[in-house]
């Protein structure tokens, strides 16, 4: 059994990471996964272990739509069925490797690690902003050496913007003081945080001329297993929330996929919108995000090291509301799968 929920769609890769010909591989939920494309362009995900002697298939080669193991030459088709065993004419009945349900949608390859018959593409979160002509962005993938739940926690409590990102994305303590509205939605939560009449964030100055204070908003869905779909922005202060004159809007899609219990693949983009005309803006937004992510990574890596030292008290505060509810949603998803409840990474107090 797994410490991760299995009946979810996980992002396995950006579309561009898997080439039109050749083998790509990545560890996902502790399992080695081979990703490649058929001659039609369709992407396929197989277990990256040959069923003969566990050699990784990515060390072999693609032959048309099939994969040849590079150790002893067994050949498999995209369904994982063995077609050839060198030196013999019969194929052992059990010579079969696992194929994962995989759907390519909006530039993400979504993989279903649970029972294939339960893989319903209708459940895939709608990351439309990754694939819309009005929203241009620089896509990126990082791998962080931390439990994916600690990054979920981070994304569910933006009060940290005032402290971790004081010099980048944040910039004022009002963000931490604002009370977000938290709504339960299918598969997760919607978090709405609005702050009025605050100084722009330091990173705003890289791409906008802002003489005075601004209003800022962060509205996002956070869905199992760790998908953030965010609509945020800023505009000159002093107007109604629905007046968008002079606003800069941003769309961000972020997906967390556990590599192992202690490491996480982080797929992300943030796109500026609303008809801006600066062709360098998407790259500038990406550069700012990278800088802020380095701040998060340093904090969460250090936090995980502390949690590894032994049990630590976890005093609940109001800012934990969203992350505590998401941890409950996650625990219930695991229970529903009959999975053993995982070590809670030090969070037993509000599990």
């Amino acid at each position: 059994m797994s410490p991760f929920p299995l009946n979810c769609w996980y992002v396995a890769a950006w579309s561009h990471e898997v080439p039109s010909s050749g083998l790509f591989h990545r560890t996902i939920l502790g399992q080695p996964v081979l990703l490649y494309r058929l001659q039609t362009g369709e992407a396929v995900a197989l277990d990256n272990r040959c069923c003969h002697r566990a050699a990784p298939l990515h060390l072999g080669r693609q032959e048309g739509d099939n994969i040849r193991c590079g150790y002893h030459g067994m050949l498999f088709n995209p369904q994982g069925a063995c077609l050839e065993v060198p030196g013999q004419t019969t194929i052992p009945r059990e010579a079969q490797i696992r194929r994962y349900p995989l759907v390519e949608r909006n530039n993400w390859l979504w993989l279903w690690p649970g029972p294939p018959e339960q893989a319903d593409p209708a459940l895939i979160p709608d990351n439309w902003a990754c694939n819309h002509p009005d929203w241009r962005y620089v896509p990126d993938t990082h791998t962080w050496p931390v439990d994916w739940r600690l990054i979920c926690d981070n994304l569910l409590d933006f009060s940290h913007l005032s402290y971790v990102h004081a010099a980048t994305l944040g910039g004022s303590t009002e963000i931490a003081q604002a009370k977000p509205v938290i709504d339960r939605i299918p598969g997760g939560l919607r978090v709405t945080r609005r702050v009025r009449d605050v100084p722009p964030a330091p990173y705003h100055r890289r791409f906008a001329d802002l003489p005075g204070n601004v209003d800022r908003w962060f509205i996002y869905e956070f869905l199992l297993p760790g998908i953030l779909l965010m609509h945020s922005g800023l505009k000159p202060t002093g107007h109604r929330w629905d007046e968008m004159q002079g606003a800069l809007r941003l769309e961000s899609c972020q997906a967390l996929t556990p590599e192992t219990a202690d490491s996480t693949h982080y797929f992300f983009m943030q796109a500026p919108g609303f008809g801006h005309t600066d062709p360098d803006l998407p790259a500038a937004i990406h550069a700012s995000l990278i800088q802020a992510f380095a701040e998060d990574r340093a904090m969460i890596t250090a936090q995980q090291a502390m949690l590894k030292l032994g049990p630590s008290p976890m005093v609940a505060i109001a800012a934990d509301a969203a992350l505590a509810r998401f941890r409950q949603i996650l625990q219930r998803a695991l229970q529903a799968e009959g999975a053993p409840l995982p070590d809670d990474g030090g969070n037993a107090s509000w599990a």
Copy 2:
């Protein structure tokens, strides 16, 4: 429970390691410790974990006498009490971090990891030589990747000077052949080793003009948890031990503080005395000591690697008398605390 005795004063840092403003941190007995100074200069030791989500406090900042967590902004006073939680007005009753008793004396910061009410400053060993105008020295701190008890063993049997330090501090096999006198004193042992009519050690030639043989002495207290206070020296041979004409005396204070079960902070100094006039002598003595410590570290690191391979016989010899008695003193201290007896690092034969 801990494999280390807790009802002892451990050296946490040299005074100069903790700046007058700003956060210093170090792992001590497997626990993360934050060290900083109040505006009065008084040093404070707190658990380095925020009680909210275990973020390390050293990534936050000092605000006056208080500490602001760098993750979500909680503020703590020097007693570890929470003063502010961003986004709410009430402070949870249990929002409190641990404060360690800490005493600054003779340029060492002494920390008590046991129950605070038992922390009696009268029990602090007297490292007066670290703070005396006649004894000038270069202070230093190393961290070695070994069980602190193996360094205790090393310091309790100077027969190794003849072999490990043949080319540096030692120089003749007479040191190994000398029989030390061992006395039980409160908190540990006193070891007295005198050798007559031997060649000077190689390192003596770096700072003294010694035409003939010398007499050497090493007299030290070795106290729980691993504190060495040594009076040593050399002088031309052929005189009574209490005639100090032409002698070079040295005072050395050394303190071992486990970082973890397998690594040790080593605080040390060695000061030449008796009215020498060479201003470079303290640095030369320090350089020689560093060279010899590298010899010890190589040997003890290799020894620990051997002990990790599995149980090894440990044949007792006469030279073990002091280290065997100190191991007994340590075991009794642990028993008195009700601690489980630790794995003895392969030394069960004379535990």
Copy 3:
């Protein structure tokens, strides 16, 4: 108890690795071994741990035929008996370190880790080609971070030459398709694989002018604990197997000695024979072998990483015949020693 068979001769070193004076050390079957030579040139193997405090003896020094521990100066003779303890005149009865039976034969030092009284030199495999004037070679030793049994598997199934070594030693799929003859012989197996009318291997072109196809043969004994003694070669196609006109013959001796459960010392040579006159040929053969070994190492290291992820199905195919039989021989050898059966490295299906 050990996961390795103990009643076998293991190669501990090439003769040239142990100098005529001075201390050499290596971990073998998880145990630290000291190797050195007496003044007569005879090689000796002792436990590399001093019986006093487990200091590694290789940090000490050779004094004539004896070894002085570098920590506290105890002196041992080549039988492992203690001759001197500094600071005392009596020698503790139990002051003795283990000596391993060691035989130097054909440029390999063979060590017996089992009960010394069972160490029969008549059981040493005959690596004559390592010591014959007609067969010149470059000797080498590598250490690979893998379970030695995975290298045994590799050497027992040359079908991998067609895939792993397609660009070096292999070159055609006929090698994988050929059916080897497998014979049980004392201590292991003989494997005979012949292929007719195939293109030369890529590496053949480095040292032979071969206008057309060739016949190739690989005949080897593979003996416990992991010794390969191979006679191979190639010649123009179209003749009987016993006609050696125009043939290039190669002798190869390879020995696997576990360093630990997950790392292996690999001693090897491959010598060209039959009166070739190119003085650079042995070095060219060695260079080709090194290149191919890098291919094997990459594959087996990746395979071991996969096996460490968890249980993997192992579908048996015809090509496994020799390796499966050798695993049985190994299991029976362990059972005969009363050893617990080791974790099979993922191979339980045909253990």
